[in-house]
């Protein structure tokens, strides 16, 4: 089976990426619903329309910044949104990249740009993950946890992500150089 062109491995990957693309949109929709639902619930409790006890005694949302539920849910939603939106950018660029591969044109300047956007997005998501996890840890440190509950935070570096970023940086430049050589070859008479 050939790697590039119609009916190739690239075309199969393109189909998989299209499925991932729609799944990510569904996840984003779900996350938006959860965020709105949580916001609405919080507003209704604040307005006194519903009793916070309905959610269970340990999750007293009316405590706001001093309660456990409020500080945990918001950064979790933010992390989820960043990861899903980052995923959408990456998968969107990969779809365009593999569309070009399926067309049999790997060395195009725009492919180098797609790879560059992918590694920058991965970098932003990874750094944002560290920052937000740090923020959650800081919030937990300021909160009295209920009996029996414990928060365990440890700083870990995902070597595979950083290696992927480094590989993509190099690949982006390889594609840029390839596109430059192809242009030069096309303009050699």
């Amino acid at each position: 089976m050939k790697a590039l062109g119609k009916g190739s491995v690239a075309s199969i990957v393109e189909i998989g990426l299209a499925i991932a693309w729609w799944l990510l949109w569904i996840a984003l929709g779900g996350l938006t619903l959860v965020a709105f639902g949580y916001g609405a619930l919080h507003a209704m409790i604040a307005a006194g329309w519903i009793d916070a006890e309905i959610l269970g005694g340990e999750l007293d949302l009316t405590k706001g910044a001093t309660g456990a539920a409020w500080p945990v849910v918001v950064p979790a939603l933010v992390i989820g949104a960043i990861v899903i939106m980052g995923g959408l950018i990456i998968v969107g660029r990969l779809r365009r990249l593999f569309h070009n591969f399926t067309s049999g044109e790997p060395f195009r300047r725009e492919n180098a740009t797609h790879l560059r956007v992918i590694w920058i997005t991965m970098l932003v998501v990874e750094v944002a993950r560290y920052v937000l996890l740090g923020a959650i840890a800081a919030l937990f440190a300021a909160v009295d946890l209920p009996d029996g509950a414990k928060a365990d935070f440890s700083f870990n570096i995902d070597i595979s992500t950083w290696m992927s970023i480094a590989i993509l940086i190099v690949l982006a430049e390889v594609f840029r150089e390839g596109a430059r050589m192809k242009e030069e070859q096309e303009l050699t008479i």
């Binding site: 242009e183 030069e184 303009l187 050699t188 008479i189």
Partner: protein, 82 residues
Amino acid sequence: MAIRVTLDRILLERRMSLTDLSERVGVTLANLSILKTGKAKAIRFSTLNALCRVLECQPGELLSYEPSAQDAELERADTAVE
């Protein structure tokens, strides 16, 4: 690009059209047009050979060097080093 292809001048002197040249040299009209308008990045020796054969000229008659701003900058840098 500091190297210019003076194909239009030679064609005028020979009273030859680009289409005629294309047919006699065996290079497409589109590629000759790229060469004539200075958009070409490089020229093969085989193409240069065919052009010189058909136009009965030397390679130096087809090409001329006109220093660009970048070349002038490099020249100044070289002079400063010396």
